[in-house]
Amino acid sequence: MTNPRDSGNQAISMGAPAGKICESAARAIRTGIPDFDTIYEAHVDFAWQIVRRMGVSAADADDVVQEAFVIVHRRLAAFEGRAAIKTWVFKILVHLVRHYWRRQQRRPGDRAGEDAAEMHTLVAEHDPTVALEKLEALRILDRLLAELDVDKREVFVLAEIEQMTVAEIAEIIEVNANTVASRLRAARQEFQKAALRFRTHELGRQP
């Protein structure tokens, strides 16, 4: 976070009116809504994860995350705190990812191969010893996630990777909790079957 003493110096050097100096801090205290920097730092990693696991390529995930935080920045002044910040940010992300797929006119799974290739590029440039295992795990996860349709993948990622509750997911994707629960149940069953198939196949390949 910004050092309060530095903040004051910067504001004074900008010639800001004294009343403006602590405007965002005062608003944060009054409303309990943090400022943009705090929100960005707290959520950008989650945002990146969710966008990637929802099947957006690494190349495009940057743009989606960037757009999301532009919206957060623009809307923060009007944000009333009716929802949790995390819920609000995730709602924006889900909307943008859906829009992304509409624009792409293909299913998230269609890109799994391309991303795997990108990851191998990354392996070659990273410490290969431990990172390879993690990359392999990610590759497997993305491959299995790609077998879920968009609706199931959405709830599965939010529940199993972001550890959100059914109620929170219902709020984010704007469908009722029963629908979320039934989608999640179906998604888990499909994922489990895919995982079993994968392990069986893997065992069959072992010498």
């Binding site: 944060a28 400022d35 943009f36 960005y40 990693d45 935080f69 923060l76 002044a77 392996v123 993690k134």
Partner: protein, 267 residues
């Protein structure tokens, strides 16, 4: 009941926290966000003065906005940069979740912005669209060594990539200024000039937004509404979308459809 068996659980567990943003990525994306906000879409929010941001962010925005208004194309460059010239440096964490890095300082953001291309590549940026290994950017100045002055200096190295867009940008900036001073008809005339000079201009999306806002101000009606809705369908997440909605929401029947296209609605 959880239907996940041990096979599925182990796959999920192994991948948890494996991919994470590097500190350089966090700074770069944040920088791009602030620049995008500071360009055409920022005027309205900044004028309101109510947006909750830290003083550090305000300083950065002030510097960026200064660069834009002084005629530099840096903001526009950065706007387009994610696809063109600012490859990412995602990292894979070998040991699980990565502890959040400290927030970037203004100095770091300014430094990244003002680095020449070779230096940016040294810091993990590459010019070929591929990603490189993440790591802390070496040689970052400490806050105590900083001054605000370098922020406002036009980063010459960044001017060239989109220098050819300057003429387009100039016309659109004039049209936007017309809107700001309440002369939407003159803004529309500027757009006609834009069309005659730059058929299928690179900044067509921005042109459409300005046109929608101007029409909603000068002759509100079905045509204006159609332009606004068309723009929002095309670019609902544009930094200009909020301004188009604000300018056109008073038109009959438009408010609801504009709201439906708004990803920032609070749940």
């Amino acid at each position: 009941m959880n239907d996940l068996g041990p096979e599925a659980q182990s796959i999920l567990e192994a991948a948890r926290g494996a991919e994470s943003l590097s500190r350089t990525d966090r700074v770069r994306i944040k920088h791009a966000v602030l620049l995008q906000v500071a360009t055409l879409g920022a005027a309205s929010t900044a004028a309101g003065g109510a947006i909750a941001m830290s003083v550090a962010t305000k300083v950065t925005l002030l510097a960026v906005t200064t660069a834009v208004l002084s005629g530099g194309s840096v903001a526009l460059w950065a706007w387009k940069a994610p696809r063109v010239a600012a490859p990412r440096t995602h990292t894979v964490s070998p040991g699980g979740p990565v502890v959040a890095a400290p927030p970037p300082t203004v100095v770091e953001e300014a430094r990244l912005k003002s680095l020449p291309p070779e230096a940016r590549r040294r810091d993990g940026f590459r010019g070929d669209g591929r990603r490189s290994v993440a790591g802390p950017a070496p040689g970052i100045e400490s806050p105590s060594e900083s001054t605000a002055a370098p922020l406002a200096a036009p980063p010459r190295a960044l001017r060239s990539p989109l220098a050819s867009l300057d003429p387009e940008l100039t016309v659109l900036r004039q049209a936007q200024e017309d809107l700001r001073v309440g002369l939407p008809a003159r803004a529309l005339r500027r757009l006609a000039e834009y069309d005659s000079r730059f058929s299928k201009g690179t900044l067509d999306q921005e042109r459409r937004a300005i046109e929608a806002i101007a029409l909603c101000q000068v002759q509100p009606g079905p045509a204006a509404r159609a332009r606004a809705e068309s723009f929002l369908r095309l670019a609902p997440q544009s930094p200009l979308a909020g301004r188009v909605r604000a300018a056109c929401k008073k038109l009959d029947g438009t408010a609801q459809s504009l709201e439906e296209n708004d990803p920032g609605r609070e749940p």
